[in-house]
Symmetry: C2
Subunit: 307 residues, 2 copies
């Protein structure tokens, strides 16, 4: 019996080359779409571009594009979705860094937006980036069918809002110093980071057509990856140094935040991350989709990353 197409596809897949290709498109699109010269007041354009174009892993856009490729989705729609998700992520970082939240002064080695441009500008920058995410999803040039636009807006709004990312942050805020149980910790992270990561995969898939059971499998993949991402984050906060991490290590403990490491210990957390990776890969196999190599490689990289 010859190996299944999924396995052979994955074995020969070059994640590095794939990522370079995708990132080139994403960076170019963001460069073009985020506050282009002359269309936005300069005092807002500057911090918006500073917040978005400063790099980053672009994990969410990559998940969108990989999700779209898994279902043979429209590359044009997927690129818009990828950038929209990244804008939501970028706005959340700008607001999170503010003094009333995490009060972070550095991000990716550079001054955070509020340090560089002032708190009021940071607040408006985040607000404008969120609006821009929905603007990117609703072009008026006939390039994206209306039902795709509406579906993408719905998925993004739900993932970003009170029952998603913002809700998770609110739970996080209310949980500092409290002993969260496993279920509460999972719930918080499912909302705080999981919702947008899962939505990334599914928004990608919404750029094409897929059978319900395939979508359900991608949804499982996204849920496992969202959770794994946070478990690994908690592990790295303990095991990595600040330089490798690109942000302050040991912050969770210092801020008395509930983490998976605190809840279950370091070794079990590492096992848990690997188990979630297995679950994610199993979901991809169950999807019945042929082109899941990028999703599989991204999952592997995300769980086995060192920063």
């Amino acid at each position: 019996m010859s190996p299944s197409p999924v396995i052979s596809d994955a074995a020969s897949f070059d994640l590095g080359a794939w990522t370079s290709l995708q990132l080139a498109q994403v960076e170019q699109a963001l460069e073009r779409w985020v506050a282009p010269e002359g269309q936005v007041p300069v005092s807002l354009a500057e911090p918006m571009r500073y917040a978005v174009l400063g790099g980053g892993k672009r994990m969410r856009p990559l998940l969108v594009l990989a999700g779209a490729q898994a279902v043979g989705g429209s590359p044009e729609a997927a690129l818009r979705a990828a950038c929209a998700v990244e804008l939501i992520h970028a706005y959340s970082l700008v607001h999170d860094d503010m003094p009333c939240m995490d009060n972070d002064v550095l991000r990716r080695g550079l001054p955070t937006v509020h340090v560089r441009f002032g708190e009021a500008a940071a607040l408006l920058t985040g607000d404008a980036l969120q609006a821009l995410a929905f603007e990117l999803l609703t072009p008026d040039d006939g390039s994206l069918p209306a039902d795709t636009q509406a579906r993408l807006c719905r998925m993004l709004a739900q993932a970003a809002g009170a029952a998603g990312m913002a809700g998770g942050q609110a739970i996080d805020l209310a949980s500092v110093g409290l002993p969260l149980g496993s279920e509460q910790l999972h719930h918080m992270h499912r909302l705080k980071t999981g919702a947008l990561l899962q939505a990334s995969v599914l928004m990608g898939a919404a750029c094409g057509a897929a059978q319900p059971h395939s979508l359900s499998a991608l949804s499982d993949y996204g849920r496992a990856m969202g959770l794994a991402f946070q478990v690994v984050d908690d592990i790295l906060d303990v095991t990595a140094d600040s330089h490798t991490l690109g942000k302050t290590a040991g912050k969770d403990a210092a801020q008395d935040k509930p983490t998976f490491v605190k809840l279950m210990g370091l070794g079990p957390s590492q096992n848990y991350a690997q188990e979630l990776l297995s679950q994610a890969c199993a979901s991809l196999r169950a999807s019945g989709l042929a082109h899941t190599a990028p999703l599989q490689a991204l999952a592997d990289k995300l769980v086995n990353r060192i920063h």
Copy 2:
């Protein structure tokens, strides 16, 4: 010759009764749609509902509903659009009131959101309200055609974002203490308050079908009303007392903000507001639409208000 339908329609129109009817629907819908029990973390649901359900003039929802009625638009779509616009307005107030912006402690006689719930919660509340606005516009129950959903999201995102409200606020922020000329002052307000007020009328109209020349006329009406709203605001800041106004009077001068009164004087500002009202009414007549009585009465009330 008998009077035209528009005139007779307007003459017999009871704005008070109409407003009561519309507001009952809007309040009920907001009550139902904003962070309903059990669907959103309590620590976020509470400030979200506090920020939105605390009353207010609901000028923007009324403009949406009046705009929809002018074109015979879908009441279901219009109600969603009305609430979505109000959520954007509400989020902007929550963020504007924060210490890093206007540092206001009272709104409508009650503690502002950050005073009542803390700054971090206020930040998240605004963020979640913005996301909710787009969620309301994209129901998954077949109640709203996808192209209407997409169009409404596009209009709202543009009006709220960097080339609209957020952009206007950024200009405002950068203009304190600067001597703005007439053109700059108009530009700032066209973005800061004008964009969302104009979008309200046009989003209402997008809930139905209208000829291009009618839409163009409604757009002119919305632009004139958006500007008139700000001119009257500037006038009231000088002429009204804080009690009548429901907010601190004389704040513009105290904060050295550029205003129309400062630019052109009180009398000319009052004349300008009346001129804008005339323009708005002329646009309605030019629209060729029959049911513009609510829009006309709203314009009159907005310009001749005392608070």
